[in-house]
Every structure is written in structure tokens, then in C-alpha cells.
């Protein structure tokens, strides 16, 4: 499995973990972004749609990982984002950082998901239980 991917099917975190981990890694930090049933404003959500400029998003993932590698030497990073229609409880994004020690794994994982949310050309539409929907931008 590639370390960076845009997928249309279910994300398997263990597969990503396996792609990132090496014998030198004593710490693995995983962030999973999961579809929840409430919007920020409290509206009831029935599901999400994601779309992406895939080539640009993958290039952004690689840039983020390169930056993370400079900030946290030795860290190995994997990023997978799902697009299409997602239901409550499904994983939309998985970020996995593996390092010799836990601090760098946690920090790199946090850095990568924060940068992804502010930079990656990926869009999310919330579908509400009243039948309406809105595109939701991340607050950066």
C-alpha cells in the first residue's frame, strides 16, 4: 500500500499502519477522522460527501510528509483520505506516524492532520437529516 492515497472504499487503518511501520519504530500514532452525526452548528447529519483534486491532493500529502520529516527526523508518515459518499461512523481520513519514540510520532501525526485540513484540495459536503446539504470549509 502506498503511503499516500485517495480511496473510494473503506479505509483499513491496520493496512496503513503496516505500510508505515518499520523495525526501527517503537511508537505508532494514528489519527482517524470519522463521520459524526452532528454538524458544528448542531444540525443532525445523515452523511458526508467528499471530493478531491486527486493529483494535487496526493502532491500535498507528499509535501506535508516531507515537512514532517524535516521537523521530526526519522518519522514515517502515511495519509489516506476517502472520497465519495460516507455514512456516520465511517473513517474519512487516516493519518499514521511511526517513529523511534512516541513524542515524535504524536507530534508528526498532529502536524500532518492539521496541515491536511488547511491545505489539501479536498471538499466536504454535509448532508442533513432534513434533506438539505452544505459545503463545509475548514477553519484554518
Amino acid at each position: 500500500m502506498s503511503l499516500f492515497a485517495i480511496v473510494r472504499d473503506r479505509i483499513d487503518p491496520r493496512t496503513l499502519e503496516g505500510a508505515v511501520w518499520s523495525d526501527a519504530c517503537g511508537g505508532v500514532a494514528m489519527f482517524l477522522g470519522v463521520v459524526r452525526n452532528r454538524a458544528h452548528d448542531g444540525r443532525s447529519v445523515s452523511g458526508l460527501s467528499y471530493e478531491a483534486h486527486e493529483a494535487m491532493a496526493l502532491a500535498e500529502f507528499a509535501s506535508i510528509a516531507h515537512e514532517a520529516g524535516e521537523r521530526y527526523p526519522g518519522v514515517r508518515l502515511g495519509i489516506v483520505h476517502r472520497i465519495g459518499e460516507l455514512r456516520i461512523g465511517e473513517i474519512a481520513v487516516a493519518v499514521c506516524a511511526a517513529s523511534a519514540h512516541r513524542a515524535q510520532a504524536f507530534d508528526a501525526c498532529r502536524y500532518a492532520i492539521d496541515e491536511l485540513k488547511s491545505r489539501a484540495p479536498i471538499w466536504k459536503k454535509e448532508h442533513y437529516t432534513d434533506g438539505t446539504g452544505d459545503w463545509v470549509a475548514n477553519e484554518c
Binding site: A52, H53, A55, M56, P121, I122, W135, V136, N138
Partner: protein, 83 residues
């Protein structure tokens, strides 16, 4: 004349009615001309003008006076919401 391939995402896609389409522009056209042509499809794109980034062949354009070339991909990128 030259032809560029427009790729629109999220709200921009909805306003323009298609995910991808060709746009024919005069020789020497810039990204400003490209945007003007998009406005003729639906002038509601103006509502997103201040927040939409335009990428030419995968690179976000810093200035809209950049010239476009035949075969370019022009991507319209409204504020992102990944994660």
C-alpha cells in the same frame, strides 16, 4: 483560439453545472479572461471569487494575469474541507 480544460469542485462545480468541461479562449488569454468566461456560464461564481484559488496544471496561480496555453488544466478550488 485555444482550449483549456476546466475542473470545478464542490460549490463551484454545482454553480457551473459540470465537473469538467472545455473552455475556448482567444490566443493570449489570461486567467482573468478564463474567469470572465466562467461568469458568463453563471455569474453566481462571483460569490466565491474572493475565496477561490485557481490552479493551472496543478499549481496554484499567484496572480491572475498569468497566461493560459492550449491544453492547460484550470482547476477551481474553493475553500477546502478535508479531514
Amino acid at each position: 483560439m485555444l482550449t483549456v480544460r476546466v475542473r470545478a469542485f464542490a460549490r463551484m462545480r454545482e454553480l457551473l453545472g459540470e465537473r469538467e468541461f472545455d473552455l475556448v479562449l482567444p490566443e493570449g488569454a489570461t486567467l482573468v479572461d478564463c474567469w470572465e468566461a466562467l461568469r458568463t456560464r453563471n455569474n453566481k461564481v462571483d460569490s466565491l471569487a474572493s475565496v477561490t484559488r485557481i490552479a493551472r496544471n496543478g499549481r496554484v496561480a499567484a496572480l491572475l494575469d498569468e497566461h493560459v496555453e492550449n491544453g492547460d488544466e484550470i482547476a477551481l478550488l474553493p475553500p477546502v474541507g478535508g479531514g
